[in-house]
Every structure is written in C-alpha cells, then in structure tokens.
C-alpha cells in the first residue's frame, strides 16, 4: 500500500531524510524507530503529502503523492506528531468537521463520528471543548480523527506519546487490531511498543535506515542474544572459555556463543560442563537479545534538531 523509493528531504544544508526506501503492505504494522531528530516525522510528513520530497517517490495505494495528492491523501489517516486539533471546537464538532472534509455526509457522517468515538473511548467527553481535555483525551481525539474515514493506510506519529500506561496499552491493542486489515506505519522511541504492536520494524538514524526486520530478527542482532549467565561455586572463566567468550562480573560468568543462533546448544553445553565438573549451581539464565541494546548500538546519541 505504501511504497517509498529513495526518499530524500533536505532543509538547507541538513539532510533530514537521506535515501530511505521501504514498503508496507495491508495487514502489516511497521514500527518506525529512531532517536529524536532522526527523520521519522519528516518521513511521515512526506508520506502524508505535507512535505514535498526533495527527491524520491512516495506512492500510496498506487497513487503518487506528489502527482496525485488528493487521491493518495484520501486513503490515509494521519495522526501528526503533537496530535494537534482545534482547541476551540468540541470533540464532536471537530470529528464532524474532519468527517465532512473526508467527504462524509448526513447519516454516514454521524455513523463515522459515532464509531470513532467508540473506538477511541471518547464518549465521556464528546461535548467538551478540546482545550479543556487532558493530554490523553486530546491525543485520542486526534487519533479518532485519523480513523474517522476508516482509511486503508494509517500513519501515526508517536501515537502513544503522553499517554498513561493503561492508555498506552489500549492504543497498542488498537493498532494491532487495525493492522490486521490496514497498512499501518507508526513511529515511536519506546522499544517495548515494537514488541507489543509491530510485525516489522525499521530503525533509522540521521536520515538513513540502519536496520530492519521483525522484532525477533532485530533482537538477534543484540550481543546478548543466546548468551548464558551462570552463577556457580567452583566455576572458573578458564574452564568456561572452551565454550565461548566469557565475561566475568560480580561473581557470575556470562558466556557468549560464537554464533548467536547457537544459543540453545550453548546452554546444553554449559549444563554438561557443570555436571562433569560437579559445580554447585546457584543460578543459570539463558539471555534474550534486548532491543534496547540493538537500538543503542545502531544509533548515535545527540542527533540535534526537530
């Protein structure tokens, strides 16, 4: 549904987005990860037609966003970064306005507004002015606006930003649910969200893609993936080093496999060694890769700018 080819956006001398290509199909939830200022929002603004790309192409549902913006925009529901909405409108009139802008009228408009209110749990505040709402409600109002026309493509820029843990959970479930029938792209810098909602993730840094894959594939790039931590009386680094690289810390040893995909074999080998040597085991853990660590190793801190 979304196809991006060699997308570049420059602001003056700064290359905010520098040659990004990827595609998202229906039934996929793509997580877009990256530190602040890495080009996530700029990419999303190009997908939704707000920024024209400096070079490269974006097509949504087969329509080129630059050449045929109206047809492309019709397919997209967009939640902008700060979840902006008109503060002087009530939730109901704001959603009615966006539904009208999406070409819905009369009974269809009423139905769409009602459905969006229900999906985003807004029924308690429908008649309130948006500027009197809490941040969570404001955010969900803007999310409701993105869903109002039941779009085939959803572009959500930090959809869980500023929500409390319960609301985050609800929104993630909603995204996962929507992802079954739509093409969804959402950006975040919260890594647990990738596990919770994405079928695929892309990590970008300084405008370039530095990694992509399923959450498990990304995790496999972690140095920790497949490592075994052992805490046992009598164990020595020397004997363990026959199995892999050993790190000694705080009375425990962490053994890293020579090949990360051989994690299970390593664990078996450690148990065998323990039995053979007769060490008294206090604890033994098989480590899983951490997205956090992959993220830190692939991206550089202090990317300045918005």
């Amino acid at each position: 549904m979304i196809r991006i080819e060699n997308l570049v956006k420059t602001f003056g001398a700064k290359r905010a987005v520098d040659g990004i290509s990827f595609g998202v199909e229906r039934g996929e939830v793509l997580g877009f990860l990256g530190p602040n200022g890495s080009g996530k929002s700029t990419t999303m603004r190009m997908i939704t037609g707000f920024y024209p790309p400096t070079s490269g192409r974006v097509t949504v549902g087969g329509h080129d966003v630059a050449e045929n913006p109206i047809a492309a925009k019709r397919l997209i529901g967009y939640l902008p970064e700060n979840a902006a909405s008109y503060p002087d409108m009530t939730v109901e009139s704001f959603l009615g306005f966006t539904a009208a802008m999406r070409g819905l009228d009369g009974a269809a408009r009423k139905r769409a507004v009602g459905r969006a209110i229900e999906m985003c749990f807004l029924s308690a505040v429908v008649r309130q002015n948006i500027d009197t709402l809490s941040k969570g409600y404001k955010h969900r109002t803007c999310l409701a606006q993105a869903l109002i026309h039941d779009p085939e493509v959803l572009v959500l820029d930090e959809p869980t930003d500023g929500l409390d843990p319960n609301q985050k959970h609800e929104v993630r479930n909603l995204i996962r649910e929507l992802g079954k029938s739509k093409a969804v792209v959402f950006s975040t810098h919260i890594l647990e969200e990738v596990d919770a909602a994405c079928s695929r993730a892309i990590i970008i840094d300084r405008g370039k893609i530095v990694a992509q894959g399923t959450p498990n594939e990304l995790r496999a790039r972690s140095r920790l993936e497949g490592a075994v931590t052992l805490q046992a009386d009598g164990a020595t680094a020397e004997k363990l080093s026959a199995l892999g690289r050993v790190e000694d810390f705080a009375g425990a040893f962490r053994i890293y496999p020579r090949d990360p995909s051989h994690g299970p074999e390593l664990a078996a080998a450690v148990i065998e060694l323990v039995n053979r040597e007769g060490w008294k085991v206090h604890g033994m853990y098989s480590e899983r890769g951490e997205l956090d660590e992959v993220f830190r190793s692939l991206t550089q801190p202090d990317t300045a700018g918005p």
């Binding site: 024209p52 109206i70 925009k73 997209i76 802008m101 999406r102």
Partner: protein
C-alpha cells in the same frame, strides 16, 4: 467547492465560539458610530448622505481587519493544525479560499449591523439609496483587500502579533498612497504622472468612486486584483514553508 464551504463554515463557527466575534462587532459598531456622528459631524453637515460614515472606513478597517484576519494562518502554524488541514484530501487553494471567505463573510455581517445609520439618514432626509448601496459594496471590497493582505502576512509567521503589525503597515501604505496630504507632498517633488501612478495604488482613490455611487469597473478590478494577488502570495508562502 464543497471543501471550501466546509472550511469556511468551521472558521465562521470559530469566530463565534470565542469572544473575538462579539468584541469585534461591538468595537466596530462603536467606532463607526463615533466617527460618523462625532468626528464626521453627520448632523451638522445637513446632507442626506452617508459620506460621513463611509469616509472613515479605510481608517477603521486599518486596525480592525488585521485583527480579524491575523489568526487565520498564524494560529494554524502555531498549533500545528496546518499539518492536519493540509493532509486532508483538499488543495491548499481550497483552504486559503475557505478561510478568506469566512472572514470576509464575517466582515459583511459587521457591515450589515450598521443598518441603523441607513435608517437614520432615511428618516431625516431623502438620500440616494443607490449611492449608499454602492458605498456598502465598496466598503466590503475595501475590507476584502485588507483582509487578503492580512491572510498573506498571517501565513508568513506563527506569531499573530507580527502578522497584525505587518498587515497594518501594508494597509497603511495602501491608504497613504492616495491620502491628500501625501499626494500634495509628492506633487511638490515629482511630476503629476508619478503622483497619479502612486495614487492609483491607493484604496482611497478607488473607494471614492463607490461613495459617490459610481461602480466603475476599474475600481472593481483594482480591489479584486489586490485580493487575488494577496491570496496567490499566501499560497506561495504556504508552499514555501513546506518545501523547506
């Protein structure tokens, strides 16, 4: 056209859900009343016309029209809702036109509410109501020209105060180019052709005809060109922001 109508309606509602509309209407009516009856010496003139009323409009609008229009784009940019608006399946022109029309209709409403002055002059004498109607048309076009310039300055900045000041300065230029003290001063230094050229840019020169009841196509073209040019410039400025 549909998108223009929807945006226009939202903007109009926005005026009335905030105190802006009411404050504006009250101040506009008070000011026009004050200028007409006190400073304009409406009664002392002993004329059955509204020249005391319309004559002040370029000056009253100078402050009030930028106040009505400064919000239009500056606020969208400040709040970030411009991103929402321009990612809807509409063109930027539809948004520009919708917003402009909303404010222009609002100004028309303000003008309509000055009807007591028309009643007054009709009770006291027998004015040329055709000339009064032409005066109203001219006044509305004048407000439209100021408003279009305000749209343009509003698109330049996310700060409403800056938009306000810039548009006041521009509108002031449009007045002064044909203001008698200024044209007299210019006439002393330069040739009459230059004076006429400068004065041709003035809203005063073009508004005068309407007050006399003359609907001259040149005056109509002048106001519509100012509006067209300023709205076109608004579009260019908005596209410029997005192109980065």
């Amino acid at each position: 056209m549909r998108a223009v109508r929807i945006i226009c309606r939202r903007e109009l509602e926005a005026y009335f859900t905030s105190p802006v509309a009411y404050v504006f209407l009250v101040i506009f009516l008070l000011l026009t009343g004050f200028f007409t009856f006190t400073a304009g010496a409406f009664f002392e003139r002993g004329e059955a016309s509204l020249s005391a009323f319309f004559g002040w409009h370029p000056w009253v609008y100078l402050v009030l029209v930028p106040a009505v229009g400064m919000r239009l784009w500056a606020e969208e940019r400040r709040a970030g809702t411009i991103e929402l608006l321009l990612t809807m399946p509409i063109t930027a022109w539809q948004a520009i036109l919708g917003k402009f029309l909303a404010s222009w209709i609002f100004l028309a409403l303000a003008l309509v509410l000055t009807f007591p002055v028309v009643l007054t002059v009709n009770v006291l004498g027998e004015p040329d109501n055709g000339a009064i109607a032409a005066g109203y048309v001219g006044s509305w076009l004048l407000a439209g020209a100021y408003l279009a310039l305000t749209c343009m300055t509003s698109a330049m900045t996310r700060n409403q105060v800056v938009a306000f000041i810039l548009s006041v300065v521009m509108c002031l230029f449009l007045i002064l180019a044909g203001f008698n003290p200024v044209t007299d001063l210019l006439a002393r230094w330069t040739s009459p052709t230059v004076v006429d050229t400068v004065a041709a840019f003035s809203v005063i020169t073009h508004f005068d005809g309407f007050q006399k009841g003359v609907l001259d196509s040149r005056d109509l073209i002048f106001f519509f060109s100012v509006i067209g040019f300023a709205l076109f410039a608004t579009g260019v400025i908005i596209r410029g922001h997005r192109a980065g």
